[in-house]
């Protein structure tokens, strides 16, 4: 990244989960660096390992090989308070990531209490205003808010400790198109105001393109291709897979002039075999299933 200091450095990261004496390689040998105030996007289908990278950074997934450095320092296990003050994560599903029996006030003040930061009252009010929620929401429960409002609370919670890095795991995929626009605008505004660095995951190429400077396309746990915004916009990707993702993106087809003749344009042989192959999760399920039910079969 030249003049920018690398804030996040992931080097040859592999994440392997072992379940029932079977090894599942969720991430294989992925490297990436994100400079200060840069926004980096990870894109791929479900099961491509993109979320696992974020989880590995936060210590929610085991690092089996490789290393992760934040501000040049290797991360410690457990991550500790200093890490939380620097890196925070926003999860995909605002219906699941907020404690259903804690008020918004309690959700937002908990990080402050843990880190012994005073002025809880003032900071909670400011946090709500920052994400565009009325302060009257303070003593509501998550179920009293809409999906978009909940995601705003989740973003406010992540920002309570004024971190420099925000890890965003599909922050808008559970939201309506219009609410998605509002949430993305909020994230862009907060990024500009606070000089945040984003590492963002999405399966929606258009969302990633809108938010990020550089993009890493992933498939089956591996990095396929790194793209700059310009390469993406001018469709100069070199791998078939990146191109098929690009073509499948809804927006391309409408602008393509033939909104009516619907036909997914997969490259010759590129997607076809992959389409019909069972999802890795299914393969695992099948293996488990066969092991459980046909123990005597060769």
């Amino acid at each position: 990244m030249g003049e920018l200091m690398a804030l996040i450095e992931v080097e040859n990261l592999s994440v392997t989960f072992s379940a029932n004496s079977r090894q599942v390689r969720a991430v294989e040998n992925v490297s990436l660096t994100v400079g200060e105030r840069e926004s980096f996007g990870l894109v791929g289908e479900s099961g491509s390992g993109k979320s696992t990278i974020l989880r590995a950074i936060c210590g929610l997934a085991p690092i089996s090989e490789g290393s992760i450095r934040i501000k040049g320092e290797p991360v410690k296990t457990p991550r500790g308070k200093a890490f939380s003050a620097l890196v925070q994560m926003v999860f995909q599903d605002p219906y699941a990531s907020l404690h259903p029996r804690h008020t918004i006030d309690r959700t937002l003040s908990e990080p402050l209490a843990i880190h012994g930061i005073p002025d809880t009252d003032k900071r909670v009010m400011a946090a709500l205003t920052d994400v565009g929620l009325p302060t009257s929401f303070r003593f509501r429960y998550p179920h009293q808010l809409s999906g978009g409002q909940r995601q705003r609370v989740a973003i406010a919670r992540a920002l309570m400790l004024k971190p420099a890095i925000l890890l965003l795991d599909e922050p808008t995929s559970a939201l309506d198109a219009s609410v998605q626009a509002e949430t993305l605008n909020l994230l862009s505004r907060l990024r500009d105001e606070r000089g945040l660095t984003f590492l963002m995951v999405s399966h929606d190429l258009a969302v990633i393109d809108h938010m990020c400077d550089r993009i890493l396309v992933m498939q089956n746990g591996r990095a396929v291709e790194e793209l700059s915004r310009e390469t993406l916009a001018s469709a100069q990707m070199t791998t078939e897979y990146a191109r098929s993702l690009f073509t499948a993106s809804a927006d391309r087809m409408l602008e393509g002039g033939t909104p009516h003749s619907f036909a997914p344009e997969y490259p010759e042989g590129g997607r076809e075999s992959e389409t019909l192959d069972p999802h890795p999760r299914q393969v695992r399920a099948q293996d488990r299933f066969e092991a459980d039910f046909n123990p005597t079969q060769p």
Binding site: E45, S46, D176, Q180, A181, L245, A250, D251, H279
Partner: protein, 276 residues
């Protein structure tokens, strides 16, 4: 003659907090074509779809001037008549396979349930039909899927299983409620092409409900745009880019585009007057 005609449909919920009007005077006609219904959450699009099948539980109430499906008055039909229609004549694909399939029942048993119960098909014949339906939605090893539980399938597989389930009785009308919003873009394209193919080859009528206007535009013939329980605009899909209503334009423009500007996305202007 149109397959389905709905005149002045209203759906109301009499709740503790007062009467909520989910759908307020919606009228449309459907032939053997692909009709899209688009709107934000809460715009009444799902309720419109469910009303056609009369799948709204009390305290919800369906009222309309008339609702005709292929010559049958579905507004005043008895529950027995409705049961005969649901499945063989009209069917609905629900939004999320995680919640709409029975988690403790094998996929095969769920697929065959209707055939066995309703049509008293023999077990072997029901199995063959279920396999054929899975093949129709391009599931490669149907035998394995028949034996699996829903949690063993990926989202795209689950969604295809639900489509297969609805197609077994070969309905004339299929209502698909956000059938792809839980899926990845690439899988989305596959599910859509399967639906598209089925509409073409079987001559079904399709109501496609979604919040994604661009997706609907490239897939349907006609689009109804709903806002707060009313239809604010009806456009032919090919003219969508020239839609007149500001709400439609808002829905169209709020999605980011590849290579678009990085500036703030236009927010959706919600004008209370449009609801009247």
């Amino acid at each position: 003659m149109s397959l389905l005609s709905v005149k002045n449909l209203r759906v109301t919920f009499n709740t503790e907090a007062g009467v909520v009007e989910a759908v307020r005077g919606v009228s449309f006609e459907l032939g053997r074509e692909r009709l899209g219904i688009v709107g934000e959450s809460g715009s009444g699009k799902t309720m419109t779809g469910r009303s056609v099948l009369r799948l709204i539980r009390p305290p919800g109430k369906i009222e309309a001037d008339s609702m005709q499906f292929d010559g049958t008055d579905i507004l005043n039909a008895s529950e027995t008549q409705m049961r005969a229609l649901r499945g063989p004549r009209m069917a609905m694909v629900m939004q999320d396979p995680k919640f709409s399939l029975n988690p403790v029942m094998r996929v095969g048993a769920q697929l065959m349930e209707g055939l066995r119960q309703r049509d008293h098909t023999s077990k072997a014949e029901a199995y063959a039909k279920a396999i054929a339906a899975l093949n129709a939605v391009q599931i490669r090893d149907p035998d394995r899927v028949m034996d699996a539980y829903p949690h063993e399938l990926s989202g795209g597989m689950g969604q295809r299983v639900m489509i297969a389930m609805m197609l077994i009785p070969d309905p004339d009308l299929l209502i698909a409620d956000e059938p792809t919003s839980a899926l990845d873009v690439t899988v989305q394209a596959e599910v859509l092409s399967i639906l598209d193919d089925l509409v073409k080859t079987r001559g079904m009528g399709l109501i496609f409900i979604s919040h994604d206007l661009r997706l609907v535009a490239r897939f349907c013939d006609r689009v109804l745009v709903m806002y707060k329980g009313r239809i604010v605009e009806e456009v032919a899909a090919k003219d969508l880019l020239h839609a007149k209503h500001p709400y439609t334009q808002g829905l169209l423009n709020c999605l980011p585009r590849i290579g678009g500007t990085r500036g703030p996305l236009p927010g959706l202007d919600r004008n209370a007057e449009w609801a009247n």
